[in-house]
């Protein structure tokens, strides 16, 4: 019994320590003096890696999710003779929930894991230590550009996801199943509120982007420098950030759209 309590306490302490290290890492990386000479170039490079390289999976998934959403929505709505409400259903579920959340989950799998593996391998091959010894702060040169890139790229990716998904929904709903295009679009226009729906979705995806890159970067930086260590850290990045995205989504939804 005592043994069990001890282990519980030890794992609790270890968790808190990890959280503390991650917070210190984030704080130090974000508060060190900005690097005007190399910073913009490094940021652009990271934006290219996390943003542009994630485009394909975001676009393809968005297309299919929009198509499926439209198909499923239609089969239910048409029973009540409300097929015209399809535009409303599709746009609200995408802008408020599916866009930010699914894009974030894909982002965690595509960009987060790559980030962890890259930084972990840089640590294992002493590249980070070498950088320190050259007198370059890896937090400034390696960590911060990645954190910023995640925060900036994620909202854009989520909006691209939304656009492609709505287009997929139109293909299935309007062109294939024959919902009236006019009522599809006007229903959508009537119900979508820019602040309430679009901006809130952007805020969500910004938060998700920040949290995913934070987890990914910390897992990479804190890695046990062996092959197993890197494999475990990469897995943890995907698992933790997916869970964090889902939990945060609930919290943010409760704050944004909660019943007054």
């Amino acid at each position: 019994m005592i043994d069990y309590l001890q282990r519980l306490g030890a794992s609790g302490l270890a968790t808190l320590q990890t959280l503390g290290r991650a917070t210190v890492l984030w704080w130090q990386a974000m508060t060190c003096a900005p690097d005007w000479r190399n910073g913009p170039g490094l940021l652009a490079r990271q934006l290219y890696f996390v943003g542009v390289y994630s485009l394909l999976i975001i676009v393809v998934s968005g297309l299919f999710i929009g198509m499926v959403l439209s198909l499923q929505g239609y089969t239910v709505l048409v029973r009540f003779g409300a097929a015209e409400a399809l535009g409303q259903l599709v746009s609200l579920s995408l802008l408020r929930e599916l866009g930010p959340v699914v894009a974030a989950l894909l982002f965690a799998g595509r960009a987060g894991s790559a980030m962890t593996a890259e930084i972990g391998l840089m640590k294992a091959t002493e590249q980070l230590a070498a950088m320190e010894m050259i007198g370059v702060d890896p937090l400034r040169r390696v960590i911060r550009p990645r954190l910023l890139a995640g925060m900036l790229a994620m909202p854009v990716l989520a909006q691209i996801f939304n656009v492609v998904a709505i287009w997929g929904a139109v293909m299935v709903g309007v062109h294939w199943l024959g919902v009236d295009a006019g009522s599809f679009w006007s229903n959508m226009q009537n119900v979508v509120d820019f602040d309430e729906d679009v901006i809130n979705g952007v805020i969500k995806s910004f938060v998700f982007g920040a949290v995913i890159t934070w987890i990914a970067v910390h897992q990479g930086y804190d890695v046990v420098p062996t092959s197993e260590g890197i494999a475990a850290a990469t897995t943890r990045t995907v698992v933790y950030s997916s869970l964090a995205v889902l939990a945060l989504d609930f919290l943010l939804t409760a704050v944004m759209f909660g019943v007054d």
């Binding site: 190399n38 091959t125 590249q127 320190e132 010894m133 050259i134």
Partner: protein, 268 residues
């Protein structure tokens, strides 16, 4: 008092409950080649990390150029590191940059020299390590000895006062071992560097070192000019220098007696 670039006083390092070493005192005179030797896992690399400020001692002080690296700010630490070069065991070249860009990296981040001058400096240093022709290669295309030499060019590009070699000879064939040893000695003479070598290759290191410190069992067991240490009476130093399989450092990792482990003791 001799002019020491580095003074280590009463330093102890502990990881969790394990004491890596305790009350180590060590001086590194300016301009010398000092070797820190000892069996694997004795904390040699830890000692280097203390000097580089990547690790803090549990107690004691590490003075580099009169500055206590355990107490100075993060910013001062980075400023101090610009005056040190370090060659890592693996070379630690940045894998996303070519050899040329790797060597140019410290210049690009610390100076605002024009590109033509950067090119001249990089080519000179690459020529010194014999890799001028390999400048366009990526680190993955280099052999172990070549990547260590390229990393050496990177370590000396800012003309540091101190250069630290972490196991420069480990895993090298005899040719590149000889090449590295002569490079280390030549650089020390030509540039007036203070050199620290951490190694367990006795012959190569003894050939170029002025002073040797032998670490074993968490303390310094032999210290002084190379000749004196090689001929030391201390059994631990003797075992290490001669490469004897058994001695004060036992062949067996601590374990219960073999018979007991095999479950034969009770029948005996």
């Amino acid at each position: 008092m001799a002019d020491n670039l580095i003074e280590i006083r009463d330093v102890s390092v502990a990881r969790g409950n394990r004491v890596l070493f305790s009350d180590v005192n060590l001086d590194i005179p300016r301009g010398s080649v000092t070797a820190i030797m000892g069996p694997s896992g004795c904390g040699k690399t830890t000692l280097l990390r203390l000097i580089g400020g990547q690790l803090r001692a549990s107690s004691g002080t590490v003075l580099v150029e009169g500055q206590d690296v355990g107490r100075i700010s993060r910013q001062d630490m980075f400023a101090l590191r610009r005056r040190m070069g370090m060659l890592f065991q693996s070379g630690a070249l940045f894998t996303d940059l070519s050899v040329y860009e790797n060597v140019a990296f410290p210049l690009r981040v610390h100076t605002s020299l024009p590109e033509s001058m950067i090119r001249d400096l990089v080519l000179m240093k690459l020529d010194a390590v014999g890799l001028r022709g390999a400048r366009e290669l990526m680190p993955s295309e280099l052999s172990g000895g070549m990547s260590r030499r390229a990393a050496l060019a990177r370590a000396i590009i800012l003309d540091p006062e101190l250069i630290i070699y972490d196991e420069p000879f480990a895993g090298q064939d005899p040719i590149s071992m000889g090449m590295l040893a002569s490079l280390i000695a030549r650089l020390n003479k030509a540039l007036g560097l203070t050199t620290i070598i951490v190694s367990h290759d006795v012959d190569e290191t003894a050939a170029i070192a002025d002073y040797i410190h032998v670490i074993a069992d968490g303390a310094i067991r032999g210290q002084g000019p190379t000749e004196q240490v090689i001929n030391s009476e201390d059994p631990r130093v003797q075992q290490f220098v001669r490469g004897l399989p058994d001695g004060p450092v036992p062949f067996h990792y601590p374990a219960e007696p073999l018979l007991a482990d095999l479950g034969l003791e009770s029948h005996a």
